[in-house]
Amino acid sequence: MLRISDNPTLDTVAKLVTVAVAMFAFVFVVMVPLYDVLCDALGINGKTAGQAYTSVPVMVDESREVKIQFIATNNEGMPWEFAPRRSVMRVHPGAVNETVYLARNPLPDAMVAQAIPSVSPARAASYLHKTECFCFNRQPLEGHSSAELPLQFIVDQDLPQDIKTITLAYTIFDVTETSGGAVAAR
């Protein structure tokens, strides 16, 4: 066994301190990234990939139709008007679909928003590929202005047969405070 010190007591202490420090580090360098990996893999919380999906050309499965529901939620203190243009779409797996969310900043000052996607059922999360999404970036809006936020997605052909409806929810958060730079940059 590895000996850190010739004094047996100090040796024990040194090893235990190492364990304690390692466990502290473990939280930050293992648990957090591991959780993200598991979320991506298992769709925990309906999390979807944070980056655009680089699409591989696939066959469109015309024989199957999947219902996609769009939901919008404002987190507390987010005064924007935020809603999907269409609340339901019926799509074929493999096809590229486009839609938009409408956002309007009713306040006089510029604000920055971040939309967080969540898919339900969570099992479907890894089969809903977004090739373009306003949620990949923070969205700034000048006071009293509105915008159309584009979304482009493909439903994977391997989507389990028993899933017939997928709900895609966006919660919009006010991140103006933490992104002072982003406003200035515009």
């Binding site: 047996p8 007591t9 024990t12 202490v13 235990l16 301190v17 364990v19 304690a20 420090v21 466990m23 502290f24 473990f26 939280v27 930050f28 648990m31 957090v32 959780y35 979320c39 298992l42 769709g43 925990i44 919380n45 999390k47 944070g50 987190n75 971040q114 967080i116 969570a122 099992r123 919660t171 958060f173 006010d174 991140v175 933490t178």
Partner: protein, 527 residues
Amino acid sequence: MGDHHHGPAKGIGRWLFTTNHKDIGTMYLWFSFAMFLLGGFFAMVIRAELFQPGMQLVEPAFFNQMTTLHGLIMVFGAIMPSFVGLANWLIPMMIGAPDMALPRMNNWSFWILPPAFLLLASTLFMEGGAPAFGWTFYAPLSTTYAPPSVTFFIFSIHVLGLSSIMGSINIIATVMNMRAPGMTYMKMPLFVWTCLITAFLLVAVMPVLAGAVTMMLMDIHFGTSFFSAAGGGDPVLFQHIFWFFGHPEVYIIILPAFGVVSQIIPAFSRKPLFGYDSMVYATSSIAFLSFIVWAHHMYTVGMPIAGELFFMYATMLIAVPTGVKVFNWITTMWRGALSFETPMLFCLGFLVLFTLGGFTGLMLSIAPADFQYHDSYFVVAHFHYVMVAGAVFSMTAAIYFWLPKWCGRMYNEAMGKTHFWISFIGFNLTFFPQHFVGLAGMPRRIPDYALQFADFNMMSSIGAFIYGASQLLFLYNVIATIVAGEPVSDEKVWDGAEGLEWTVPTPAPYHTFEEPPRVGPGVHAHG
């Protein structure tokens, strides 16, 4: 050599600068008892408000501060330090060591505790009030929505975590390096074993708790978003980290209690523990399993079904080693020559009530049924059966059992038995009805409730006042014993007691085992 035989220093300096394991043990025990009374007082406030439907005494916001501080103080201030105190007193005496391996660190690990709890208690007087997000402090209620005092709360968790880690390192270093010649691992008393395993658990998970509160601190003050969805974090991650600490923490609380009971039941059965080896293995497997069951506290967060099933099966498995322990204690009593002094009564109380708590634990492990139990009073009843009737009863038993050895005076047996029966009745009156209201749909952590829960809540409150009052009797009995108890001089105190701590004179001298004893090959040092 002469220098070694001096007695304790005089005055306050003795306590401030002591490196003696007995002095430090004493301070831990008194400190934890003070915290027990404080946490108990908060519980009385809670039960008084819940005595009847409607808001009578406190405001909902203050009620939440009470539940939060009650939990934190009982877990971190009362139960954990009490077992560290017991370990300090007993481990050197049980393994034939003159003191703990790191006496100076021992002093520090105690003396940073009182300031930590002073800080925690002082949050009550801060603007915005004390933490009011429950002892589990789930984000974002404890981050974005927390009162300003949360920063002080985080600091105090850091400090008491540090104290726990230092105390644990000390215990492990002592057990691994200071055993008397011939005291092999498989000859150590079970209390030493359970403390050793607990200490390993603490070294492994207290840093995880420190990590969790550090992330909270960073989220609150340094703009990170570990637990906030807006920045790509996740509030559920907090729960995973918290319970990765929190579940082993539950066993940190209960394992030393198992150790105590495993010492006392053989003593009053006048018969050796039935399965020493299997007790050691059962304790170790419980400790191991405690690391892979954490998410059973979170069945309702919406995990994938594979996760639910895994955590359900793993949790159910814990019933096996726990059962082994209960069966062992009962078989130890079987065909013994039992007598029922106060310590034994508390151990039997432990045995019955902890088993009930184990049953409800098994019920809670069943994920689909937990959808109905979760966050209801059923859970409150369950964990008080294992925490109070488990940890607190066994701790009380330990005090009655070893106090005569420590101070050379016998406690008042009649008063002790009275204390037991009042506690037992009060406890059950408090917590048994909570199973019913929980099953009938009363959520936990609410300051007011619907009318159909009124009768049982009133019963609960009356039971709580009885149980609370019985602790004052305990306090009185302990003080009366120390000051003017009947002197005992017999080294063994109890005729059935086995182990090295019973071979030193009574009362235990300030320094023991300066010459290590020799433990012969045929001797069962663990009784």
